[in-house]
């Protein structure tokens, strides 16, 4: 009953807007805009960004691929946001929030008077609806796992028109960070589709722009298959700069589909694209030479959150179906074997030859880019073939007269390393490892396969011996790594989806990861995660090798360009970018 006068009011305001024009919308009385920490910027203009492939969908609930997510982030907004620059949370659509003392209940207060990009108002019902969709098992959103805390989905309740309460089954140390990336959907547009059970087909890339409404800085203007997607300024966006000017500064944002990195580099070099995100160090060297002549600048942001590693197949494989691998696992399961391999790999060579020096050697999964969580106490053992030989000898290995390594049964130590053929850097890493391990007398073969074929072997058939892979943490917080370090996780690469932890150190990692999840005190959490890093560095389930630096470039005409090491590296402050 309370809603009726509100709707009337809306219709009135909408009518007034029509009469007075755009000036009326800006002086909307109850609009609580957020003031961004920028003061300078020029309105207008358009920015062109080259994108590696076409987005598959514009539905924020279903998007999985990076291009879709990049576009969707410009179109939608979340309640609490992780500031990519500071790596900390900040208010977004929720202007403030309180947590109960036991850390299980969060009450969020929304900004009043906000509107979707089609002019319809936002209130708590939209928030409740959004979470209902994200948590729907039938929709099967990739974000759903994050919103299930302690085995139960978060419960969402509307308190009043601008207040929403979230209840969790157990405290979650990173609860505020859960809200990042959960786009608030317009109930007035999507509820009908959702009730009809047709949500999976809603908001495809080819929808008419009028079907879409979001709370992001931009809204959909045009999609040309195979060529580009064009976004235009959202006139109802809820942020303003220090001088009271409504953001974003840009009129238009164009995503061009350019299929390969090299093609992107060439387009950027030619001035066809204004921003270049994440490219190889070799291309950095090529672009660097013409930096001033071509009016662009490049930034090396240092280590990001990507870690590349070598790992061995530690799955419990069936000796009947995969006898070779089962036999070789006798070596792989020996910690001394893994330590010998790790000790013989020349990480500095990888940094130099593969990344032109624009990378950091690693001995554990947390990179120096993750300032809040890195454990500085992890030892960095120097490259030592002699020490590795010592370890192998103590594990019962010996050498034949021609220098080749044999195990205690006299069988030659031979194995193959799997890599993805589309990733030139990882193939190069594998080639260097092959040469390094040759010095230990190991005969290593490299098999580069198409990416999906490789992942199938790693996670489904377990038909591989070793592999070089990389992972990028979605966030600096260890919670985002739960599925990697928990023995039951899908991404526990060396032995995924275990029902019971296979080893005592995996059991300890499980315990530590669970504890850090519910521990609210930061320094205690840090100690728990430090221990996880120590276990990884000592047991070497993955032999961490290197973390590439985040390399970005922007045309000199782009203002307020501050790239970050968190995804989306260059576009996180897209509402503040402007062109001169």
């Amino acid at each position: 009953m309370q809603r009726v006068p509100f709707w009337n009011c809306c219709v009135l305001v909408a009518a007034a807007t029509l009469l007075i024009g755009s000036a009326g919308a800006q002086s909307h009385p109850a609009e609580e805009r957020m003031v961004a920490e920028v003061s300078s910027g020029r309105t207008g203009g358009r920015l062109v960004i080259a994108m590696r492939s076409e987005p598959k969908t514009l539905n924020p609930v279903l998007a999985q691929d990076a291009p879709s997510r990049d576009v969707i982030r410009c179109l939608t907004a979340d309640l609490i946001h992780i500031n990519r620059g500071s790596q900390k949370t900040e208010p977004a659509l929720a202007k403030s929030w309180t947590a109960s003392r036991d850390g299980r209940q969060y009450t969020l207060r929304l900004r009043r008077g906000l509107r979707f990009s089609d002019g319809q108002p936002l209130d708590a019902d939209d928030v409740v609806f959004s979470f209902q969709v994200y948590l729907d098992e039938k929709i099967d959103s990739p974000e759903r796992d994050l919103l299930v805390v302690g085995g139960k989905p978060i419960s969402v309740e509307k308190v009043d028109q601008y207040t929403v309460r979230f209840d969790m089954a157990q405290p979650d140390a990173a609860a505020e960070r859960l809200f990042d990336g959960i786009a608030i959907l317009p109930r007035h547009l999507l509820e009908g589709v959702y009730r009809r059970g047709d949500f999976a087909n809603a908001w495809s890339v080819s929808m008419a722009p009028a079907e879409f409404a979001g709370l992001g800085p931009f809204r959909l203007k045009e999609y040309v298959p195979g060529q580009r997607i064009v976004l235009e300024r959202n006139p109802y966006y809820w942020k303003q700069d220090g001088s009271g000017h409504r953001l974003p500064y840009l009129d238009q944002l164009v995503f061009l589909f350019v299929p390969s990195e090299d093609a992107q580099v060439i387009r950027f070099q030619a001035g066809d694209a204004d921003i270049l995100t994440r490219f190889s160090a070799e291309n950095f060297a090529v672009l660097e030479k013409q930096q001033s002549a071509r009016h662009y600048h490049l930034d090396d942001l240092g280590a990001g959150l990507e870690y590349n590693f070598l790992f061995f197949n530690l799955n419990s494989v069936d000796p009947k179906t995969l006898p070779e691998i089962a036999r070789k696992q006798e070596w792989f399961e020996d910690k001394r074997f893994r330590q010998a391999v790790s000790g013989a790999i020349d990480r500095d060579s990888i940094v130099r030859l593969v990344y032109n020096g624009r990378a950091t050697p690693l001995w554990t999964q947390v990179t120096p880019g993750n300032r809040l969580w890195i454990d500085p106490g992890i030892p960095h053992p120097a490259l030592s073939v002699a020490h590795s030989r010592e370890l192998l000898r103590s594990a019962g290995f010996s050498w034949k007269s021609d220098g080749s390594l044999v195990d205690s049964h006299g069988r030659p130590v031979e194995f193959s390393i799997l890599t993805s053929s589309s990733n030139a850097q990882r193939v190069k890493i594998a080639t260097l490892i092959q040469d390094d391990l040759g010095k230990l007398g190991m005969s290593v073969q490299i098999d580069s396969l198409e990416f999906h074929t490789m992942v199938d072997r790693l996670l489904k058939s377990h038909d591989y011996e070793a592999a070089v892979m990389g992972l990028v943490s979605g966030d600096a917080d260890p919670t985002s790594e739960m599925n990697v370090w928990m023995s039951s996780g899908d991404t526990h690469l060396w032995h995924p989806n275990q029902t019971q932890p296979a080893t005592s150190w995996e059991a300890e990692m499980d315990r530590l990861m669970q504890q850090q999840l519910v521990e609210l005190d930061h320094s205690k959490r840090k100690r728990l995660y430090d221990r996880v890093q120590e276990i990884v560095a000592d047991e070497l389930p993955v032999i961490c090798l290197v973390s590439p630096n985040i390399l970005v470039g922007a045309s000199d005409r782009v203002g307020n360009f501050h790239a970050a090491i968190l995804d989306p590296y260059t576009l996180w402050n897209i509402d503040q970018l402007y062109v001169q």
């Binding site: 020349d346 490299i446 098999d447 074929t453 038909d463």
Partner: protein, 342 residues
């Protein structure tokens, strides 16, 4: 130059090329897998006769390279001279695949390096890799060409000799193979292979698939020759005397196809070498560190290599005369066959 001379010249040059590749272990100054991690993407080494002080050396020499952080490249270190030694000792290989030897026609003392064609991303000598790479590529060409010709000969002869429904079935089957997208077939075969089998087995299998798929074209040509051959008077006479089919085919029909088979061979070998190059270029061929001409070219897929290191083009340029030689041989062979009555 008469076609006879042309033919001989082409064959002698081809023989030299194959000897270079076959004895790559001897001719190449370095092993194909030896990495020089401090000398990645080094330009071709300059060979000097006159040193920095203006002194003339009768024996050619090279200078070492030093990493130059300022230009992110190399500068020449003129403090030490590395004379080129002929018939020097270097990396060990097996001469004629049996006798281990360390003898090479030329080389320089350590730590000097002589990179005739520069070095690659791992500091490996491109010239040595080019010679070794020919082993895989030429072998692929020969095996695949022999295989497809063998099948083509059998099928073409049967179809041409017997005609009728046999001809129909065989030739329609051949058309099916012509329409087959062999590249996708190879992708599928590669994906289905287990990982345990050795790299050279993967390679042989791929070559076999290439050869097996390519029999249809030579089969058609040979069928044509057989069709006309079997109508010749001496063939008819032999049949009149009651010779068996087998005897007629082997004694009278097949000898008439040799000309076509030989020219086809010289045409098919470069074609399959090219196919191998394509496969390796796409990452389906030999894997690291074993070189092939295709993997040498594959480095050029990357923009930074293309734009920064000109010597990485050298293998591509050197492949041109290889193919031209084969085509010249095929050409001369055809002219010769046309002038000599069968």
């Amino acid at each position: 130059m008469t076609h006879r001379h042309k033919l001989w010249a082409a064959f002698v040059l081809l023989a030299c090329l194959h000897a270079l590749v076959f004895f790559a272990g001897f001719f190449a100054p370095y092993d194909f897998a030896t990495q020089n991690r401090d000398l990645t993407f080094a330009p071709p080494t300059r060979i000097h006769f006159v040193d920095a002080q203006g002194r003339f050396h009768a024996r050619p020499f090279v200078y070492g390279l030093r990493n130059d952080p300022a230009s992110a490249g190399y500068s020449v270190d003129q403090t030490r001279v590395y004379p080129i030694r002929f018939f020097s000792r270097g990396s060990t290989y097996r001469f004629g695949r049996v006798f281990p030897s360390g003898l090479h026609p030329f080389g320089v003392d350590d730590p000097g390096r002589l990179f005739l064609m520069g070095s690659d991303a791992f500091g490996r000598d491109q010239f040595s890799r080019f010679l070794y790479g020919g082993r895989i590529s030429l072998m692929a060409g020969w095996i695949a060409a022999a295989l497809s010709l063998l099948i083509g000969m059998i099928v073409g002869t049967l179809a041409g000799f017997y005609g009728g429904w046999i001809d129909h079935i065989l030739m329609r089957g051949g058309e099916l193979f012509l329409a087959l997208p062999w590249l996708y077939l190879l992708f599928a075969v590669r994906a289905a292979l287990p990982l345990h089998i050795a790299e050279w087995q993967v390679f042989l299998l791929l070559v076999a698939v290439m050869g097996l798929v390519g029999w249809a074209r030579p089969a058609r040509l040979i069928r044509g020759v057989v069709l006309s051959a079997k109508e010749r008077n001496f063939v008819l006479a032999a049949r009149g005397f009651g010779a068996s089919d087998m005897h007629v085919i082997c004694r009278h029909v097949l000898p008439q196809t040799w000309g076509v088979v030989l020219t086809q061979m010289t045409l098919l070998i470069p074609q399959y070498v090219l196919a191998e190059v394509t496969l390796s270029f796409l990452g389906l061929g030999a894997s690291e560190p074993i070189p092939s001409w295709g993997t040498l070219l594959a480095a050029l897929q990357q923009y930074y290599v293309l734009s920064s290191f000109w010597w990485m083009f050298l293998p591509a340029i050197l492949l041109l005369p290889v193919f031209l030689l084969y085509y010249a041989a095929a050409d001369a062979l055809q002219e010769r066959l046309a002038s000599v009555p069968l």
